[in-house]
Structures are given as structure tokens and as C-alpha cells.
């Protein structure tokens, strides 16, 4: 349970809010590279942390993320012409470059220098791992570039997708660290999904439905270990990392690519659910990429031409009661991503946590909320840089492994939890 004030504290990320300040300490995924495929392509509207922005790639390939609205009379620059290194507003011709700087006010003599006095707010936009990242905080505090493994391996080893989720970011993110739902909600998918099936570890998941949990704080966030009984006096451990504020990793299965999410607030009632899939040491196969594009694993099928899931609240997520009754899906919804999204959206745009009844196994969620509140408070009151900003904190890996019963996962899996270039993931 959270008190009403705490729930508001954690769920509001607009400018000037404590959590908004916290999010503005980090590089965040903003767009897929494919959304700005070439110089002078169409600009794209972007809303992040409650701010309406516009992304574009100029004639020289430079990336910009600027205030969406023209400084002259407030027209949306989505209508602008992307030409000769800038966006030209179609209304009266004012022109802005990737830094938001106004470079031309046609009605005024160029010599007057008036254009120099006009500048739209702009945030840096960088390309890494097929993703365009932005940092929306104070320029003097801009941290080094993100180092999450999925965005540092060669491009043919990584695949990212995103889907819009019509709920607050926190209830979406909490799903990513809520390991105890997997044995229920997703139980139908382990055996069938091409990106999960066949792993030796799957039998432990299906054989022991009441895992025991261990939670440890890491420098950047949390490590959430779930252990199940295995043969020969061993435990099967699945370890989920959470890096503050909104990166989660799903423990791997066999040699399948490793995946996880970023949960990025759009505004207080919607967020982007980013899904990455990568293999640390080999290119993704054509079959894997085709399955990911087809919405398998943690990815989804889209309404054509959008990043909105094909199964969405307008069509009751294509609820299939027959499949639910027959046990092919536990909730009647197809696909892991939409199984999660449908339930999280059903909580309402902002989940009312004053009414929940948490139990001991919810400690991962309790601890994550606690760390977020503690970090936001330290930032706002004392300017303390929060965990997860330092790129060293990004170099963590999810892992699945067998350990002797007496071994601690934080010790026994120490090496497995570190992202190392050229080293295969630890997985069963």
C-alpha cells in the first residue's frame, strides 16, 4: 500500500515534480532509429515526461529534439518543411535548427540579427543501438552516454521495439520486477513461444510453481532473485536486474536472445514500453528477427503504421475466452506483452495504490518504490546524483543458473551478473 501523497509523488513526472526531476537525470530512449530513417525525413512528434517535443534529422544527418511549437505564433512544427539544415514553419517561414536556434525570420532584415534572439528549448538526441536517446535535464549535469549492453553490441545482435501503453509508467514498470506473476499469467507461453521454448531451465519453472525470493540492493537498483527446486541439491535461480529508474531485464532461457524493457513516461497517464532483445556474442538469426517483428516473445503486433498494439483496449485486447477456458492462455489474451499491458491498463490510468494489499513476495516492488522515493528526495533536497546515472551501473546482466543450495546468488552469480564484452550470457 502507498499513501495517497506517496502515490502521487511516484507517478507524477512532469516538469517541476520530484520524480520528474529524477527522470531528468538520465538518458532515456526517445525514438527508434527507424523513425528518423534519413536526412531531411519527416519530423516526428514526441511526448516525454509531460513535454510535447518534435524530433527530426537535418540535411546533414544531425539529430534534434526541440519544443514542438513555433516561437512565432505557436504553430506545431510537425507541419514544417525539413530543408537545408532546419525546420521551416509553414505559416510565416521562421526556421529552426537542431539546437532549437532560430536561424531565419523572413519578415525581418537578416542584418537585424533578430533571429539570434529566438531559441526553442532543445534536448540532445543521440543514436545508440538502434535507439535514439535523449537527456532532458540541466545541460551542466548531462551524464556520459548510456552503456546498457543491448545498445553497445553490434547492430546485428540487437533488436528493439516499442509499444504505447495507456497507463502510468509505474504500474507498467512494477510488472517488470514482479517475478511472482510469471507462473500464472504467462504459464502458457513457455512451451510455445519461439523465443522461449526449448530451454532446459523451463522445466524448473513449470515444476515448482511457488518460487522463493531474495532481494538485494545493487549500486544502480536491485537484483531480484527467484529460486526454484532443482535436482542434485541445487536451486534454479532466475535473477532480474532493475536499474533505476525504469530499466528491467528478464532472466534468459537457453541460448535465446536476452530481453527486457525500459518504461518511459509519456505523461502521467501513458508510457512507452520499450522491449529490447539481444545476444551478447552472436548475430540474431533471421528466424529470431522475423519472430520479433511478428510480435513474438515480449514484442507485439501493431495497428499498421503505428506503435499501438493491434490488441488494445478498443477491441478488448482480442479476449479469447475459449483459449482461457482450455488453458492455452491463462488470461485469455495472447502474447506476453499484451498479457501484461491489458492487466496493467485495467488498473486505470493511474493505479490507486491506497487500496492494494501487498504480501511478503511483493518486496521487490516495495523496495523499488522505496528506493525511487529516497533517491528523488536526496536529489531534490541535496542534489545527490541518483543511482543508475553512472554508466557503470548499466553493465549488469540478467542470469539464469543452477547453484548449490547453500550458495548465495549474489556471490554464486557474481560474474554472471556482469555484462562483459564477448562473453556469453549465463543461462540454462
Amino acid at each position: 500500500m502507498l499513501k495517497k501523497e506517496q502515490n502521487e509523488y511516484l507517478t507524477q513526472t512532469g516538469p517541476g515534480t520530484p520524480m520528474g526531476d529524477l527522470f531528468r537525470c538520465y538518458w532515456m530512449p526517445a525514438l527508434l532509429s527507424e523513425e528518423l530513417p534519413e536526412p531531411d525525413c519527416a519530423p516526428v512528434r514526441v511526448k516525454l515526461l509531460g513535454e510535447r517535443l518534435l524530433a527530426f534529422r537535418d540535411s546533414e544527418g544531425r539529430l534534434g529534439l526541440i519544443d514542438e511549437f513555433c516561437a512565432h505564433r505557436g504553430v506545431s512544427l510537425w507541419f514544417a518543411r525539413n530543408e537545408e539544415c532546419g525546420l521551416r514553419c509553414p505559416y510565416h517561414g521562421w526556421k529552426f535548427d537542431v539546437n532549437g536556434q532560430c536561424v531565419d525570420v523572413p519578415s525581418e532584415p537578416a542584418e537585424s540579427g533578430y533571429a539570434k534572439k529566438v531559441k526553442l528549448k532543445a534536448y540532445p538526441l543521440i543514436e545508440k543501438g538502434g535507439v535514439l536517446w535523449t537527456y532532458m535535464g540541466p545541460p551542466e549535469k548531462q551524464p556520459p552516454e548510456p552503456e546498457f549492453e543491448f545498445c553497445t553490441v553490434p547492430l546485428n545482435q540487437t533488436f528493439s521495439s516499442k509499444r504505447i501503453q495507456e497507463s502510468n509508467w509505474l504500474q507498467a514498470m512494477e510488472g517488470g520486477i514482479d517475478s511472482s506473476h510469471v507462473s500464472f499469467l504467462h504459464r502458457g507461453d513457455l512451451a510455445n513461444d519461439p523465443l522461449f521454448k526449448g530451454a532446459a531451465g523451463n522445466k524448473y519453472n513449470l515444476g515448482d510453481l511457488s518460487p522463493v525470493f531474495e532481494i538485494a540492493e545493487s549500486d544502480g537498483g536491485l537484483l531480484i532473485g527467484a529460486r526454484r527446486n532443482a535436482e542434485d541439491e541445487q536451486y534454479y535461480w532466475r535473477i532480474t536486474p532493475w536499474v533505476m529508474p525504469c530499466y528491467t531485464g528478464v532472466p534468459p532461457r537457453g541460448d535465446h536472445p536476452m530481453h527486457g524493457h525500459f518504461w518511459v513516461p509519456i505523461d502521467d497517464e501513458s508510457c512507452w514500453a520499450w522491449s529490447y532483445d539481444y545476444h551478447p556474442t552472436r548475430p540474431l538469426t533471421d528466424g529470431e528477427v522475423a519472430a520479433m517483428k511478428d510480435g513474438k516473445g515480449i514484442h507485439v503486433k501493431y495497428v499498421p503504421g503505428t506503435y499501438r498494439p493491434l490488441a488494445n483496449k478498443d477491441n478488448d485486447y482480442l479476449m479469447n475466452r475459449e483459449a482461457q477456458k482450455a488453458g492455452r492462455t491463462f488470461s485469455g489474451i495472447e502474447g506476453i506483452g499484451m498479457q501484461d499491458a491489458s492487466l496493467q491498463e485495467s488498473m486505470g490510468p493511474i493505479c490507486d495504490r491506497t487500496k492494494e494489499n501487498l504480501v511478503g513476495t511483493d518486496n521487490g516492488i516495495i523496495m523499488a518504490r522505496h528506493r525511487l522515493m529516497r533517491a528523488a528526495k536526496a536529489l531534490v533536497e541535496k542534489g545527490v546524483i541518483p543511482p543508475g546515472v553512472n554508466p557503470e551501473h548499466h553493465k549488469v546482466r540478467q542470469a539464469a543458473l543452477l547453484l548449490p543450495r547453500a550458495a548465495s546468488y549474489t556471490e554464486g552469480a557474481k560474474e554472471a551478473l556482469i555484462a562483459k564484452k564477448g562473453v556469453r550470457q549465463t543461462s540454462v
Partner: protein
């Protein structure tokens, strides 16, 4: 036409969630396993709680050998007023039990509490809150002792987590 699912998930419709309570008061028992955690638990116990009961130490008769259950299990919890309470009775009347430890002490105590929990099918949450001088070896030692018994084992870096967790659990 808008689907029923789309209509009912608006902010407006969310405001129609029924306002009656959906759970009864919980009985949570919190037991400190060592001296350092006893002082933390003592402090936390002064906050307003919904009925959580706090104990700062456990004593047991030597014939409660490891593995003793049922009738044979004789152990007493000391509450904050210093009174002795029967462990098995306290566990029996709880919804769940939280044990708190700072370093590697209290191994025998936790196994007794776990036995009592097993006897009454209660779940046990274990919280390790290292003190300023606790070494990594001691932490890992605590974990090893607690691991076989707890459904949820948490290592928290700060003492403020005890109260954060209990609040979240409506203790």
C-alpha cells in the same frame, strides 16, 4: 463505438472504484534476532501501526532441539514491555511473521520461528539490515542461515526500510 474496456479504464471511471475497505486488519509479528536489530525494531515500534506487534528477543528452552515441532516447541518472545510471550501462540495468531537481523546472529532463533511458522502455515519474511560495522562475510552468513526458512529474504541497505516495508504491508 468505444469498447467497454476502453470506457471503463478512463480516469473518470476509475473514480468509481468502490470505497469500502477490501481487507481486514492484519496481524503482523516483527521479531528482532540480535541486539542491533532490537534497537531498530524498538524505534520502529513507536510509530503508529495497525496492530503490528514487535518483539525484541527470543529465548528458548534447551530441550527445544533443532527440528522440534508442535508440543515440544518451547520458546518465548520478549515484547517491548519486557513481558514473555509464547512463540507458538504469537505465530498462530499472526498473518505473517517478519524477522529482522543485522549480522549473522540468531540462527537458532530463526529456525525455531520457522518451525512455528511451518506448524501454522504462516509465511516468513526475513530482513537483513546490516549495521555500520557488519562485514560482507557476516551478511552472507546471515543469508545462509535465513535462506532455508524465508519465503522472502531481503537485504536492505538502510534501517528506514523496516518501516517502509511494514507500512507497505499494512502492518
Amino acid at each position: 463505438m468505444q469498447s467497454e474496456t476502453a470506457r471503463v479504464t478512463t480516469a473518470r471511471e476509475s473514480s468509481y472504484r468502490v470505497q469500502y475497505p477490501n481487507s481486514k486488519r492484519r496481524d503482523v509479528k516483527v521479531v528482532a534476532l540480535d541486539a542491533l536489530s532490537a534497537s531498530l525494531v524498538d524505534e520502529v515500534s513507536r510509530e503508529p501501526w495497525n496492530g503490528a506487534k514487535f518483539f525484541t528477543s527470543l529465548s528458548f528452552s534447551t530441550d527445544s532441539a533443532p527440528g522440534t515441532t508442535g508440543e515440544g516447541l518451547k520458546a518465548w518472545l520478549k515484547d517491548l514491555a519486557g513481558a514473555a510471550n509464547d512463540l507458538v501462540e504469537e505465530v498462530a495468531s499472526s498473518d505473517f511473521v517478519v524477522v529482522v537481523t543485522s549480522a549473522g546472529e540468531g540462527a537458532r532463533a530463526v529456525s525455531l520461528i520457522a518451525d512455528a511458522c511451518a506448524l501454522h502455515n504462516k509465511s516468513l519474511v526475513a530482513l537483513v539490515v546490516p549495521g555500520p560495522e557488519t562485514t560482507d562475510a557476516q551478511i552472507s552468513d546471515s543469508m545462509t542461515h535465513l535462506r532455508p526458512f524465508a519465503r522472502m529474504l531481503v537485504i536492505a541497505s538502510g534501517a528506514d526500510y523496516i518501516s517502509a516495508m511494514l507500512t507497505a504491508l499494512r502492518a
